[in-house]
C-alpha cells in the first residue's frame, strides 16, 4: 500500500518563506509533506549549531539564514532543495537516524544515476571535496553522504522535535564560488536544471520509497504561520545567535 504525502513545489521563493514554511510544517503539519524548492534571492544557510565565525563565506551571499537543521553551511544557489516533514514514527524515519538517511539517499542516488552521474553513498574514506575549515556542508563528508567522482553532491540534515522530523536536502546542479570543487550536474550525460530534474527525483521517491505524492499547496493557516516564523530567519538576532 502506498503512503500518501502532500507535494508542495515552489520555484524561486524567498529564504524567509522557505525556512518559515519548513518550520511551520515541523511544528504543526497535519500531513506528511514533501517540498521541492529553489531560492530567490540566493542565500547562505548556517547549520543550527554553527558559529558564524566558523563559516569563512559568511556575508558572501545575497541573504543569510540559520536553518533549524544541523550540519554545515550551504549556499542555496544552483541547486534543487527538498524537505520532508512527517511524524518520527513514520516508517521512513522510525529507528536510528543513520538508516533514515540511507533510505532517502537511495531514491536520490537512483535519480542521479538516471542522468548519467555515478552517484553512490560515500562509505568509508574521504572525498577530494573535503575541506572542513570552510564550514560548508559540501566540504565535509560522512559515510552516508552522496558523492560522485570523489566529491560530495548532496547535502542533508535533520531536525527532530516534538516527535516529528524535518529532513533537508540540497542537490547541487552547479557550483558557486562558496562551494568550489564539489559534485554537480556538470558531469551528467543529460543537461538538467533543478526544475527539469525534479520529476525524475519524484519518480524515484514514488518507486523507491513507496510514496503516493498528491500535489498540493500550503493551507492559509500554514502560509500565515510560515510568514510569522520566517520573518525572523534573516534577522541579525537569529543569524548571529551563535
Amino acid at each position: 500500500m502506498q503512503d500518501s504525502w502532500r507535494l508542495i513545489t515552489t520555484w524561486g521563493t524567498t529564504p524567509e518563506f522557505n525556512m518559515g514554511l519548513d518550520e511551520a510544517l515541523l511544528l504543526e503539519g497535519d500531513q506528511p509533506t514533501l517540498r521541492l524548492y529553489t531560492w530567490s534571492p540566493d542565500a547562505l544557510s548556517l547549520g543550527w549549531f554553527q558559529k558564524t565565525s566558523e563559516v569563512s563565506g559568511i556575508g558572501s551571499a545575497s541573504s543569510t539564514v540559520r536553518r533549524l537543521t544541523g550540519g554545515g553551511a550551504i549556499h542555496h544557489e544552483g541547486e534543487l532543495t527538498f524537505s520532508l516533514c512527517c511524524p518520527q514514527t513514520h516508517p521512513l524515519y522510525r529507528g536510528p537516524v543513520g538508516p533514515s538517511y540511507a533510505r532517502i539517499h537511495g531514491a536520490v542516488i537512483l535519480a542521479l544515476r538516471q542522468i548519467g552521474l555515478p552517484a553512490r553513498l560515500r562509505g568509508e574514506g574521504s572525498l577530494t571535496s573535503d575541506d572542513p575549515a570552510s564550514g560548508m556542508c559540501f566540504h565535509h563528508s560522512t559515510p552516508l553522504d552522496v558523492e560522485w567522482n570523489g566529491r560530495k553532491g548532496v547535502g542533508s540534515a535533520q531536525r527532530r522535535k516534538g516527535g516529528r522530523v524535518l529532513h533537508h536536502g540540497s542537490i547541487k546542479v552547479t557550483s558557486t564560488p562558496l562551494e568550489g570543487n564539489i559534485a554537480t550536474f556538470e558531469q551528467a550525460t543529460e543537461s538538467h536544471t533543478a526544475q527539469s530534474f525534479a520529476p525524475l527525483l519524484l519518480d524515484h521517491m514514488r518507486q523507491h520509497l513507496g510514496l503516493r505524492l498528491v500535489p498540493g499547496v500550503p493551507s492559509p493557516e500554514e502560509r500565515e504561520r510560515a510568514a510569522e516564523l520566517g520573518a525572523r530567519y534573516t534577522t541579525d538576532e537569529w543569524v548571529h545567535q551563535r
Partner: protein, 131 residues
C-alpha cells in the same frame, strides 16, 4: 534491563529522584538512535542556564549528532538548578555512562513526583513495540 531506580519518558529522557531534586538524562536508546552506536557522531549539546524555569514537555536543550539535531524535553516542571559541566566537552559520556555520569540537568521540581512516567519494564515495551 534498564535501571528501575528511575522513570522514563516516551521522548527517551530518564528522570531520577535524588534527594529533594530530580536529575534528568537521555536513555541508551536515544543515544543509539542518534549515533548508531558510534558515540563519536555526537557533536554538540546545548543545555539550559542554571535558574531557568521549565514546564513538563518543554524543550530544555538540544543535542546534535553528525546528521540530526534533536530536542531534549523536560519530563517535569521546575527550576534548573545544576547542569552537568562534563557533557559539553565530553559527549561520549552519554554513551559510556548513560545512567550515571551522563546525567544532563538537575531540576528542583515544582512537584517532585515522577510516577506519571514509565517504569523500566514499560519503557522496554515502549521501545520494542512497533509504532
Amino acid at each position: 534491563m534498564r535501571p528501575d531506580d528511575r522513570r522514563y519518558a516516551t521522548s527517551h529522557e530518564w528522570a531520577k529522584i535524588d534527594g529533594d531534586s530530580v536529575i534528568v538524562g537521555i536513555t541508551d536508546f536515544a543515544v543509539d538512535e542518534l549515533c548508531n552506536g558510534n558515540e563519536g557522531d555526537l557533536v554538540y549539546c546545548d543545555l539550559p542556564e542554571v535558574g531557568r524555569l521549565v514546564e513538563a514537555g518543554e524543550t530544555f536543550g538540544e543535542i546534535e549528532s553528525v546528521k540530526a539535531v534533536s530536542d531534549l524535553q523536560a519530563p517535569i516542571s521546575g527550576e534548573i538548578i545544576e547542569i552537568n559541566p562534563v557533557i559539553e566537552d565530553h559527549l561520549q559520556v552519554l554513551a559510556e555512562d548513560t545512567w550515571g555520569k551522563g546525567w544532563m540537568v538537575r531540576i528542583k521540581a515544582t512537584a517532585p513526583n515522577i510516577d506519571h512516567m514509565m517504569d523500566a519494564a514499560t519503557y522496554e515495551g515502549h521501545i520494542s513495540a512497533p509504532h
